[in-house]
Symmetry: C2
Subunit: 365 residues, 2 copies
Amino acid sequence: MVGEQRQATMADVAREAGVSVSTVSRALRGVPTVTPETRSRVERAARDMSFALSRSASSLVTGKTRRVAVLMPGLARAPWFLGTTLTGIAGVLGEAELDLLVYVVTNKAERAAFFDRLPARHNADALMVVSFILTQEERERLDELGVPVVFVSQHAPGRAGVYVDDAEAARKGTQHLLNLGHRRIAHIQSAVVESFAWSAHDRLAGYRQALEDAGVPCDDALVVRAEYSREGLREGIGSLLSLLQMPTAVFVETDEMAFEVLSILRSCGIEVPGRMSVLGFDDHSLAEALDLSTIAQSPRDTGRIAAELVSSILADPSGDPARQVVLPTHLIPRGSTAPPPRNRQAEAAAAGRPGEPSDVPADDS
Amino acid sequence: MVGEQRQATMADVAREAGVSVSTVSRALRGVPTVTPETRSRVERAARDMSFALSRSASSLVTGKTRRVAVLMPGLARAPWFLGTTLTGIAGVLGEAELDLLVYVVTNKAERAAFFDRLPARHNADALMVVSFILTQEERERLDELGVPVVFVSQHAPGRAGVYVDDAEAARKGTQHLLNLGHRRIAHIQSAVVESFAWSAHDRLAGYRQALEDAGVPCDDALVVRAEYSREGLREGIGSLLSLLQMPTAVFVETDEMAFEVLSILRSCGIEVPGRMSVLGFDDHSLAEALDLSTIAQSPRDTGRIAAELVSSILADPSGDPARQVVLPTHLIPRGSTAPPPRNRQAEAAAAGRPGEPSDVPADDS
DNA sequence: CTGAAAGCGCTTACAG
DNA sequence: CTGAAAGCGCTTACAG
């Protein structure tokens, strides 16, 4: 049986120290008007009785909870990314002695419930929204919270946020592939499930931009949406491998997906980078081990800086309510990208085929 | 500017619905004595004013917070495992409408601070401790919390917990390697940093047990502690590759470490499983892609079941305070384990060398 | 510098 | 079935 003895209250400490509860409260919070002797007497009594402040009670009067809520999609979908972000957040909040309340939402029903009940209300001094594309209504609903909201790993116009420029990062990555000499460059992104979305949209835009800038026609058949699973990716790759003109490189939305792509390509005898270059996004902790070229971002820094933003907003609510921080990304070239095989390149040049081979109707006769 | 209008209180709702606050409280909590008409009038008023209950206020009187605290090491060290566990926990708590408070502790100082201040006190109705080996004092300190503590992914004698039998799992894995014909089997575990530890101890014990049962002498030179980093593992592997009698198989404490091991071995031309079999532990989401043989456990289930245990203890505190659930593990044979190369095996048999070659003193002359 | 008193927003006996 | 009142453990003006 656990010792369920009553927790000491301020009244107990006050009695022990021979002062009033007001004085205990002031002494423990470090209010400067308290005499050093009184303070130390109170502190000793508090320690002796292993007194712990009831946050419920102080919250009730101050209106502050000293808690920050974090809303995030199921970690299962991108454990490394979200887990690392969360670690960054937790470190900073811990230092600021702010508690961390986590709301994980994995499907449409949970999502609706969250925005309907708004459980964070009265329960947190700020909300951090990680990797969530919100609808207009959802965003407005969050305003009713009456607490600052900071967007993490996403850009919400006019709202405080910390994120990377996904479009620019994807553009740089695609440019790397172009610079290597690739012209048929595919893009694999995760199919959006249950109205969740990561940075798929911006990364696709950056990819398109790079091709356009280089005067390379965008072939829609080269853009594949795959389910976030091994089988989903196998299907996606299948569609690329059955094109009339196969790509020589593929830019994958995330490293975790790219790892699967590497594995699938190799399992069917397509050498990487010999026959196909693969470029990821994230610089996942395993990217080096798998020799995956990628575009690096630091979710840990993203989380850390977002949490610092939160704690600065809390400390000084008069500041700009829509501060935005854009974090850098950079290309990390490794062994999974290389120039395209010469023969294919020559062959493509010789054939001089215009794009869109998938538009050619099949002849049944 | 965010609309900072005052949040509606029960008094506001009471006025609007033309009843007393007591009635509002009862209606909203579903106390059966309330008339259906009264209830619906109150509910409508609450909805119209988008009333949200202040948990601080109700906690203060009920003594319950409707929050569960989770203590875990930095996710950075094992993001997949801890992230997946957390997802399992979050799902169940969310359904039970319990909030999830996360305390991440990444170093000795934070650890000391956590146990010194015990911030979860007065702040949560239960504590879940994930993958943490506690000292005697720390465990006793947790008893002062006065709330149920459930240990997740670890076995604490006499305490409630959900975990796998690591020793038995490791024994099975090692037996698999023995069954393939391996006799020189190495084990790589993570060096314990800052007094954190996972299941390193039990897995090592299981490995030793299997060898002993098979009558294969345990060679301490085959047990390597490596830092949890690529460079640390490279060093650890280096020590194995420079032994007089190289191992033909290696059992690695976790899949994430095993991925690095695969990569390092291949980078130095040692084929897996041709010259070296590699066995992991976890069945990480990428293990299939990397064709890694491993011992599967389900951190998601562990988290889920632990959270169910917590919510059942909260619902009925009269139950056994030390309920334990042992979850199953199973070997998943994949392409990274195979019988040892025949020549080596024969060579070793012919030489008939006793173990401990590392004990032979170097001759300086 | 310290204390007495009011009050934060709820829940819960206690009456009626 | 509903209301008035007390009280949960703090903080904060207000006196002194």
